[in-house]
Amino acid sequence: MSMRSQGSAKGHEQRASALEKQVKAANRDLQEANRELRNRIGELSAIHRISLAMRSATTNPLHLWEMMLEEALELLQGSIGAIYLADGSGMLRVETARGLPPETVKDLAVPIGRGVVGHVAQSGEALLVPDVRKEPRYRELVKDIRSEIAAPMLGGESVIGVINIESNKPGAFKPSDKELLMTLAAHAARVWENSMLYQMAQQRNQQLLESYKKLSETQHELIRKERLAALGEMAAIVAHEIRNPMTAIRGFAQRIGKRLGDVATVRKYLEIIISETDRLGEVLESVLEFGKKPVIHKHSLRIDSIVGDALLLLDDRIKSKALTVRKNIAPGLPQVMLDEDQMKQVIINLLQNALDVTPRGKAMGIEAVKDDTQLLIRVTDSGTGVAPEINEKIFDPFFTTKLHGTGLGLAMAQKIVEEHNGIIDVANLPNKGAAFTVRLPLLDGHEPGGGRRAKA
């Protein structure tokens, strides 16, 4: 028993010192781990700061690189740091550096393959050299450098540059430092790439803006010239319509002046003057009318009454040319919302045109039918049809194939039909002649011509 108690006292001591040693060891481990953790936190914070700064670095990567170098030098406890960029001719040039005198930096260039930096650029892999003096292939240009660590900046498949940290103490860097530097290098590369892309985008944008501006100006010029040309054309046509009546009015007035005694002749001349003046008035009205926006008052109407009125108005002229009018108003046509006067004007115009081109004794036609979505009013003639090249122009204002007339009839008709949400078109008939068709929608939401308007 005494042996045990004696042994236990010594044992206690031994055990206590062993325990103390364990605790001390554990403590050291803990402190080590703590330090490690703090390092890690420092690195992560640095990376975080850099990430945040990256957002605004599109236009000037250099600032960010400087910042990265600062952080790297601090974290890794290096004395010299530099970021090199490949210049495309096989050389790496310093873009930014810390810890080096400016004169050295200016001329500092490393061929790809030489030294630590050149080697990293060539291999595309990061390198940690604990002591450059011990490895002749990495002998550096700067004196007193012992440890070196470099990581490649990769842009796509190629190496765009190298980030390089040096220390004058050998073995200053750990493998985890190499990893940190690789992370920074990746960020630096990304920043550079982004700024390149951004610059390209800016340039492209600028070019596009300039092209657009030029195009826009050209387009405006063209439109202006076209409009002027069209106006010139229109003016010429209207002028003709005005000059003839002027010749007549002036001439007859002159002659009246010379023969005031001859009442019968004077009266005849005066009548001609009045009718020519009225003609001028009509020309003026049709030109002015065309310029205005048509006022539309729509009522629900039957088409056959409008057609009937129109035919009645032209009856004399039809009879004087001995023309046959084939009339076909389908039974049971629904009433349509129409402005009576305007639509009558359209039909009269179409009938008049048919009347003008149909040879004496031949036939012209007017029909009103419906299909699922539209009401069709078609006027046909036995003329020579419409030449394909004027198919488009025929509805243009001031376009006319006639000698007289302002060419506004069809243009006005189109305007009116469009105010009724309809369309008007022309097509040649198989056996000679042309057909002008007015298509008016029957129900809301339907476009004439068969298409359905997309629901809003």
């Binding site: 010429a236 002028a239 003709h240 000059r243 003839n244 002027m246 010749t247 007549a248 002036r250 001439g251 007859f252 002159q254 002659r255 010379k258 001609i272 020519e276 000698l403």
Partner: protein
Amino acid sequence: MKHILVVDDEEHILTLFEDELTDAGYRVTTADTGMAALRCIEDEVPDLVVLDIRMPDMHGLEVLERVRDTHKDLPVIMCTAVHGLKDDYTVWDARVSAYLTKPIDLDDLVYKVQEVLEKNGSDKDEE
């Protein structure tokens, strides 16, 4: 008495020119289409033709061409409505004796007719 053929598709213009030229001492016949004009000339060659540029069936220039085919020396006064067109007709200057631009002044009409007839008459005398 000299014979003048007036060609224009507008009835009032024909009346106007016919009355005025008749008063000026000429015998006047009229035609309102290109074909009618050519027929008139075939029937009886006038001493002068007053020709409008636009006709319902053919262009005034075409009428001129056809007239020149058979009657090289027949004097023709062309009535144009658009000033600019005159420049296009430099080609035709040799074949057109004179131009009248619309709106036509009656005094100009009579004056030009007289002038052309005199010139043509004196040319004929020289032959």
